[in-house]
Symmetry: C2
Subunit: 343 residues, 2 copies
C-alpha cells in the first residue's frame, strides 16, 4: 500500500542508499539526482516508514510519559500538560506514548524491556522513587517532572516553589496581611508521604516566614472539598486572627472558601484566600473567583520533553528548569481587615 524507499529508488533510477541520503540529508547528493528523487517522492507520496527506520537506526523516536495510574495529582491542568508534551514531541519528530503504571517497579521494567521507547519522562516523582532506580539500572535516558530526593546527575524540570511562594506571600503582604495560614495537601496517605510539592512549598514558606518575621502556620488537609470545609473551621477556631489563607491543594480550595463563607466570613473583606497551583477552570468555578498562582502545566510539559530529547540527541544536558507559577488576579484576595471580623 504505502510507497517504500525501494520503490522510490527504482522509479528514480538510484540506489535506496541515495534515497536515504536525501530523505535524511545525511550525505551530500548531486543537485540533479536530488531533484529527481524529490520529484519521484512527491509524485508517489512517499513517507519514510518509522518502524523500518527505528529498527535500522536503533532509535524509535518514541518517548514514554510515565505517571501513577491511580492518582490524578496533576489536577485540572493535567490535559494541558499532556497535550503540551505530546505536541512538543511531535514538533521534534517524536511520538509520546502514555504509560500509566502502578508504583510497582516491575511494570516499568517490563515495559522498558520491550525496546519501544528511547527515553522516559517521569512524572509525579516522589522524594524516594523506585522508578528512578529502574531507569538508572536499565540505562534508560530520562527526565523528571518534579524532583526526587537525590538529584545527582538528574535532568529535571519542576515548579519553582521558592519563587512561587515568595510571590504568593508578597501579594498578600502587599495587601497588608501579616497573619497567614498555609494549607497543604495531606501526607497521611503513604503515597504522599514524601510528595515533593508539599515538602518544598512548606520549606519555602517557613524560610520566608522566618525572613519576614511572621509565624509560618501550616495545616495539612485531604484533597477533598469536605476536608477543605473542615480546615476552614479549624483555622477560624485555632487562629482567629488570620486574615489570609494560602491553599496548595486544588481540590480542597473550593471547600475552604465555602467553609469560610458558611461561618459568615466575607471573602475577601474578612479573609483573603489565595490558591496555589490551580487550574483556571477550578479558580473561576468558585464564587468569589479565586485569586490564584496558576500552574505552569503547559510549560512544564514542553520543557520536560525538550530536556529529554536533548539527552536523546546527544546534546549537552539542559540545566534544571524551575518555573514559577504566575499570579492570576481573582476576587478572593483584598486588603487585610483592620479589626476582628464582624458578624
Amino acid at each position: 500500500m504505502a510507497t517504500t524507499m525501494r520503490e522510490v529508488a527504482e522509479a528514480a533510477g538510484v540506489s535506496i542508499a541515495t534515497v536515504s541520503f536525501v530523505v535524511n540529508g545525511s550525505k551530500p547528493v548531486a543537485p540533479e539526482t536530488r531533484r529527481r528523487i524529490e520529484e519521484v517522492m512527491a509524485r508517489l507520496g512517499f513517507r519514510r516508514n518509522m518502524v523500518g527506520r527505528a529498527l535500522a537506526s536503533r532509535r524509535t523516536r518514541i518517548v514514554a510519559l510515565v505517571y501513577p495510574a491511580m492518582e490524578h495529582k496533576l489536577g485540572g491542568s493535567g490535559m494541558e500538560f499532556i497535550t503540551s508534551a505530546a505536541r512538543t514531541a511531535g514538533e521534534a519528530g517524536y511520538h509520546l506514548v502514555l504509560w500509566p503504571v502502578s508504583n510497582d517497579a516491575d511494570e516499568l521494567t517490563e515495559l522498558l524491556g520491550q525496546g519501544l521507547v528511547d527515553g522516559v519522562l517521569l512524572m509525579e516523582v516522589q522524594l524516594e522513587d523506585a522508578r528512578v532506580a529502574v531507569l538508572r539500572d536499565t540505562r534508560t535516558p530520562f527526565a523528571l517532572i518534579g524532583r526526587s530526593g537525590d538529584l545527582t546527575g538528574l535532568v529535571y524540570v519542576d515548579i519553582d516553589f521558592e519563587r512561587t511562594m515568595e510571590q504568593a506571600v508578597a501579594h498578600l503582604v502587599g495587601l497588608g496581611h501579616r497573619r497567614l495560614v498555609l494549607v497543604t495537601g495531606s501526607q497521611a496517605d503513604a503515597s504522599f508521604r514524601t510528595y515533593g510539592p508539599y515538602v518544598r512549598a512548606a520549606a519555602a514558606y517557613r524560610r520566608i516566614g522566618a525572613e519576614r518575621g511572621f509565624e509560618a502556620v501550616i495545616v495539612e488537609c485531604e484533597q477533598t472539598t469536605d476536608a477543605g470545609r473542615v480546615v476552614g473551621d479549624q483555622i477560624l477556631r485555632t487562629w482567629p486572627e488570620t486574615t489570609a489563607v494560602l491553599v496548595l491543594n486544588e481540590f480542597a480550595a473550593p471547600g475552604l472558601v465555602s467553609g469560610l463563607l458558611r461561618h459568615g466570613m466575607r471573602i475577601p473583606e474578612d479573609v483573603s484566600v489565595l490558591s496555589i497551583l490551580t487550574s483556571a477552570e477550578m479558580s473561576t468555578s468558585v464564587d468569589p473567583a479565586l485569586t490564584a498562582m496558576s500552574s505552569p502545566g503547559a510549560e512544564l510539559g514542553e520543557l520536560g520533553v525538550q530536556a529529554l530529547i536533548r539527552i536523546l540527541e546527544g546534546g549537552d544536558a539542559l540545566p534544571p528548569s524551575l518555573l514559577p507559577a504566575t499570579l492570576v488576579p481573582g476576587e478572593s484576595t483584598g486588603p487585610a481587615r483592620r479589626s476582628p471580623p464582624g458578624r
Copy 2:
C-alpha cells in the same frame, strides 16, 4: 545490551524460529524443547523487541488517540478517559500514542503516513468531520468516541444521550418539577456548530418534553463561569416560573449556581440545578455540591480501545456502545417549590 532471540536460540541450541514459536505460542513445540527455551529466556531476562516484531509482522500494536489540540471539551474527566484508554491498551499488549492535531486533515494524513500506528481512536468527532474522511481514504482502522453524522459502517462508542436525559428529567419530575430549562453549550463557535453532544441532548430533551407534555425550553451558553451567571439571570427574567435547570455545560454550571444564589434564589429550595456530564471534582467544588449525571469517562476510554483492538485483531466489529451517565446525588436538587420563590 538487551537479549535478542538469536542469543536465546544459541544458548538453547535451537533455531530462532523455534524460540519465536514458544514466545508467540504460534506453533506446537516439544515439551522438553519448550522447557529449555523458557529456562534460557528467564535466565537471560529476554523480552521480545517490539520494533523487530512490528516490522516483521507488519503490525506495530500501537494505536493513536487523535483529539483536537486546542480545545479541552473533555472537561474534568479528560485525564480519567485518557488513562483508562492507555491502561486498556496496555492490558491487551498495545500502546497508546497521543496525537493532539489541528482540525486540519493534512496533519493527520502526515502522521498516518509514518506507518507507526495500526489504528486510530478519534475523539471529539463533529457531525461533519474531515478526519473521518482521511481515515477512510487511508484505510486506517478506527473507532470513534462520539458520533459523526453518517454512521454507515462506523464503529463507535458514545454517551447515551437518550437515557441520560431521560434519567435526568425523571429525577427532577420525580421531585415534582414541571417547569424546566435546559442549558447547553454555545454552538456559535464554528467548531461547536455541529457538536454532537449538544445536538443529541437537545433532541432527546425535546422528544421527552413532547412525550411528557412540557415545554422544552433550551438556552445556549458559552463554556465559562461568567456566561453561566448571565444565563442564570436570563432564566429568572424570561422564565420566572422555572423550578429546575438542567445544565449540559460543565464550565458554566458553577456560574449558573452562583448567579442564581446572587439573585437570592436558594438552591435547591427555590430552584434545583442538575449538572449533566460533569466530573466529580467540578460537582463537589460547588456549594451546594451539584447533583450530577456523572460522565462515564473511564468506561468510554475502555470501550473505545476495546472496539478498536477488536477491529485490528480481525474479530467481528463490536456493536456500537452507548453509555448513559449515572446520577450522583448532591445537594443542588430537591422537591419543587409550590409557589413563587420568596425574597
